[in-house]
């Protein structure tokens, strides 16, 4: 605590400053989209007043997966193996359902080696936030195509991708995730809003964030370059978020906006831009995404939101207390139980 007369730093609702949400110095390349995403994460967690001690940062392998070292140093973090962050996170959330799990993955980590665990995580609707820092290439292994690379996208070496991309958002919606959106590391406001809303959701939040790799995929001919995304971004709607602990502000017009009440009482408002869009309709969401591919747009926004589906913890009907710290008196049945079991076997 500062005792001198210097001006008090700004604090959030749990009394922390934004500095308390910082991490180590980044070792990613200058200009890497992943760094911008780290900044947005810091801001969102700070503004929502999430205690960093309650957060676990989970990742696989890649430049993106290294980034958790560069934000929220007061949170536990697990840099696991390539493509398998979902399972590690599932275990951690089961062990302690009170923690806020934030997974950070790359497009290679998720859509190439990791697509199997991704699919099954989405099906389970495990409460967590899953961010793909999507640059269409393997950054850490120096620029090979990943499975989200668009058809016709070109590598620096001139090689052209001829395999169709996996749209992780369409997939996540189809499979069972309950909060699915796409954003862009360069779209500060949208990403920031989506992250805050994500923190109010209890279920799998899957955010595919286009995050250009300045070193290997930011050139002419790439569809994941800053220039391309800026030129082709098409936001579905304008997003506003009112956290549950703020007074509800006024400017809300039911004619032009949809208001979604999140699990914790926060409000996510989607102001329509071009045409009507109902973010609770799975089939339409997938259709709209597929259309955007055909149009060559980078559609962003919250594609799908379902605040009523049960999440995995609901399904397995588990105690509220963290399993990890249940006392022996709860986890070890009595002698009588053993005797009962023995008798059954005699």
């Amino acid at each position: 605590m500062a005792t001198t007369a210097t001006p008090q730093p700004k604090i959030n609702r749990i009394g922390l400053t934004v500095l308390d949400y910082r991490g180590g110095k980044t070792t990613l390349c200058a200009g890497c989209g992943h760094n911008a995403i780290s900044e947005r994460i810091i801001d969102a967690f700070y503004e929502m007043g999430i205690a960093p001690e309650r957060v676990v940062k989970m990742s696989g392998i890649g430049c993106s997966s290294k980034s958790p070292a560069y934000f929220m140093g007061r949170s536990h973090s697990f840099n696991s193996v390539h493509g398998r962050m979902p399972s590690v996170t599932t275990g951690a959330v089961l062990a302690n359902s009170k923690i806020v799990a934030l997974g950070v993955s790359g497009d290679g980590d998720t859509a190439s080696i990791g697509i199997g665990q991704f699919v099954h995580l989405m099906r389970r609707n495990l409460p967590m936030i899953y961010i793909i820092e999507d640059n269409g290439v393997y950054g850490l292994t120096k620029g090979q195509f990943s499975a989200t690379a668009d058809l016709g996208s070109k590598l620096k070496t001139g090689v052209i991708n001829d395999l169709p991309p996996i749209d992780t958002c369409a997939l996540a919606i189809m499979l069972g995730a309950t909060f699915v959106g796409r954003s862009f590391s360069g779209d500060k406001k949208q990403l920031h809003t989506m992250l805050k809303a994500a923190l109010s959701h209890r279920g799998t939040v899957m955010l595919d964030v286009i995050s250009p790799c300045t070193t290997f995929n930011d050139h002419e001919g790439s569809t994941k370059s800053y220039k391309f995304v800026i030129d082709h971004e098409e936001p579905l709607h304008d997003l506003n978020f009112v956290p549950h602990f703020n007074e509800i502000d006024v400017e809300y017009d039911a004619g032009t906006s949809i208001n979604v009440t999140m699990h914790d009482g926060s409000q996510l408002r989607l102001r329509k831009l071009e045409r009507d869009y109902d973010p609770t309709n799975k089939t339409e969401a997938i259709k709209r995404i597929m259309e955007s591919h055909e149009a060559g747009d980078v559609l962003t926004g919250v594609f799908y939101l379902n605040t009523t589906a049960p999440n995995f913890l609901d399904m397995i009907d588990m105690t509220d207390r963290p399993l990890a710290t249940l006392p022996e008196s709860v986890t070890r049945p009595s002698r009588q139980v053993l005797e009962e079991c023995m008798e059954e076997l005699r």
Binding site: V81, P86, G91, L326, L338
Partner: protein
């Protein structure tokens, strides 16, 4: 029949036909999916309840229905419960294998057969009993659809009569078997009685095998190793269980689910555990590590193919130092190998599972009661050492029924290892995750969610310093690796210590582990009674080995290591670990055809190597 290695030669039965009491083996040859498992269990329980030591082993194919299956029951007044190589009493229910089943019997054995098959014409040196199953079954079971199942209970009745089993015990066993299915119980009981009556009326006892009441099983239980492991895991306080179905491990988790639902749901109706069927074994172990990192007692169960898929994560667990328990119910070779046959084939692979320099502790139960107790040991050890611990069971132990003394309630409180709470951190003012504070190679950890601003540490492989900060420094790396070596050295004294079964000569010793144990104790007697050779015996219960193992070898001239695998895997691990001057003492006995090892194989092998 196809489950003995070769036709065995008549020995004892050639002699005068004195009554053979409580010392014989029955083999029921049938096809799977035919419901004979219930009949066989009734036979097993009946003998057990008559106080006679008994064991049962199922040799079943890798499919669901219609392929040859053999079930052997051994009664042994001396308490031998290993597989007996020789079959004394065949119940030939499978027409497809009947010829070979009969041909491979030793002279003097008994064969019960379906009358129309006329198996009696095959040989003249056996005792044959024909049974007109169709006729008997039709009489007691009007519904023709059910006859296929009921048929099996007929042979139970016939065998009961021929072997002098107590029909009151048969009835009890049968009613226990069908529990709440009262109608099925009734139908089956009638079939058993009909078989019994048929035998009484139409068969003349012409073989020496018979059962007499004893009192050697009083208070004992019958259970399979997987169920015992499940129960043990529940009493160990497991909270997170992940799995992917695979024979022969599935029943471990399936039984665990039943137990947990029965005994681990809180008064509020909420589960004090989570059990997840994962999408595969990579996910199953990933979840175990995630949960172990977050502080839960987490486990999974699998078999060889799953172990292979877990290799990368196993290494990560070793380097990040995360507790977790992995049961490997070992079976033969790849998925398209003999997945329903037993083996101890994963020992060497698991010992250093993962690329790079890794090593893992293994616990090796030999009995259902050790499945129970080691479930607990494994969690204590994993949390104490902060590392994945493997429990190496096998199909024979896991899926077969074994009699046992009742299990002991765990007396020691759970050992949750070195975990710092927020209060500890306040007191200490900080911590370094990978610092060897106590000189035992084990650092202190904090759990995610610990409410302290200094609690967090960054979990990653070996690229870190003592404070778990990113480092590629050669010295940080080497120091950390050396600490891990120290930790593994330390594990030697923490794992379950070997059982020294006998140690009173300085000449010949046997070292075995897991299910081979039951054959070895019988071998000890065979060697003594048949050859007058007295041999010592140490049973390994864990890896890494401790000093008792070294001493045992050091104090003997020749030591036979028994492996149920081709490559003498435990023999190799021992060889790598002991004093050089003792290596020449080691001999290897290997058994690897998918069947549980038997005493005769070991005895013969030792005698031949001993040049006797």
């Amino acid at each position: 029949m196809a489950t003995t290695e070769f036709a065995v030669h008549g020995t004892e039965h050639d002699a005068v036909r004195e009554p053979v009491v409580n010392d014989f083996s029955i083999q029921v040859a049938t096809v799977n999916g035919s419901g004979s498992q219930s009949a066989n269990t009734v036979l097993l329980r009946t003998i057990f309840k008559m106080g006679v030591p008994v064991s049962g082993k199922n040799m079943f194919p890798s499919n669901i229905a219609g392929l040859p299956t053999w079930y052997t029951i051994r009664a042994s007044k001396k308490g031998y419960i290993a597989r007996k190589k020789e079959i004394d009493f065949l119940v030939a229910m499978n027409p497809e294998t009947a010829r070979e089943d009969v041909m491979s019997l030793a002279s003097g054995a008994v064969a019960l057969y379906d009358e129309p098959l006329k198996l009696n014409e095959l040989r003249s040196d056996l005792t044959f009993y024909p049974v007109p199953y169709d006729k008997i079954t039709a009489a007691v079971c009007p519904e023709s659809k059910l006859r296929k199942l009921v048929r099996n209970m007929v042979y139970v009745g016939v065998v009961a009569r021929l072997l002098n089993l107590d029909m009151a015990e048969v009835e009890k066993a049968l009613r226990k078997q069908f529990a709440k299915k009262v109608k099925a119980a009734e139908l089956n009981w009638n079939a058993a009685k009909a078989g019994y009556d048929y035998a009484t009326a139409s068969l003349t006892k012409a073989d020496p095998f018979t059962v007499e009441r004893m009192d050697k099983t009083a208070g004992m239980i019958i259970i399979d190793g997987n169920a015992a492991a499940a129960m043990g895991s529940m009493f160990a306080g497991v909270t997170v269980v992940t799995w992917y179905p695979i024979t022969p491990s599935s029943s471990l988790v399936e039984t665990l689910i039943d137990y947990m639902k029965a005994y681990r749901v809180g008064p509020d109706g909420k589960a004090t555990f989570a059990i997840v069927q994962a999408e595969d074994e990579l996910a199953a172990i990933g979840m175990v590590l995630g949960a172990g990192w977050a502080g839960a007692r987490s486990m999974t169960a699998t078999a060889g193919p799953g172990i292979s898929l877990m290799a990368e994560f196993a290494g990560l667990g070793y380097y990040v130092e995360i507790p977790g328990v992995i049961w490997d119910i070992q079976r033969v070779g790849p998925s398209t190998g003999l997945p329903t046959r037993t083996s101890q084939g994963d020992i060497a692979f698991v010992a250093r599972l993962s690329h790079g320099d890794t090593c893992h502790p293994m616990l090796i139960p030999c009995s259902v009661s050790e499945c129970f107790s080691m479930a607990n040991d494994a969690f204590d050890l994993a949390e104490q050492l902060q590392t994945p611990v493997f429990v190496m069971s096998d199909l024979d132990l896991g899926m077969n029924n074994w009699m046992s003394e009742p299990f002991q309630y765990p007396e020691k409180p759970q050992n949750r290892g070195k975990v710092l709470t927020a209060e500890d951190l306040d007191r200490l003012g900080g911590f370094a995750r990978y610092k060897d504070v106590d000189g035992d190679g084990v650092g202190y950890r904090t759990l995610p969610g610990t409410d302290h601003s200094g609690a967090a540490w960054f979990a990653r492989g070996s690229g870190h310093n003592e404070k778990s900060q990113y480092s590629e420094r050669p010295d940080d790396y080497a120091n950390n690796m050396d600490r891990l070596t120290r930790k593994f050295e330390n594990a030697r004294t923490l794992v379950p210590q070997p059982e020294i079964v006998r140690n009173d000569s300085n000449e010949v010793g046997i070292i075995a582990y897991g299910t081979s144990h039951h054959a070895v104790v019988e071998t000890l007697d065979q060697l003594q009674s048949e050859y007058g050779v007295r041999v010592d015996y140490l049973r390994l219960r864990a890896y890494p080995f401790n000093r008792e193992v070294h001493d045992f070898i050091a104090t003997h001239q020749r030591v036979y290591i028994v492996d149920q695998n081709r490559d003498a895997q435990m023999h190799e691990l021992v060889k790598l670990d002991i004093a050089v001057e003792d290596i020449a003492k080691l001999r290897s006995i290997r058994h690897y055809n998918g069947l549980p090892i038997d005493a005769r194989t070991i005895t013969d092998n030792i005698i031949s190597q001993e040049g006797k």
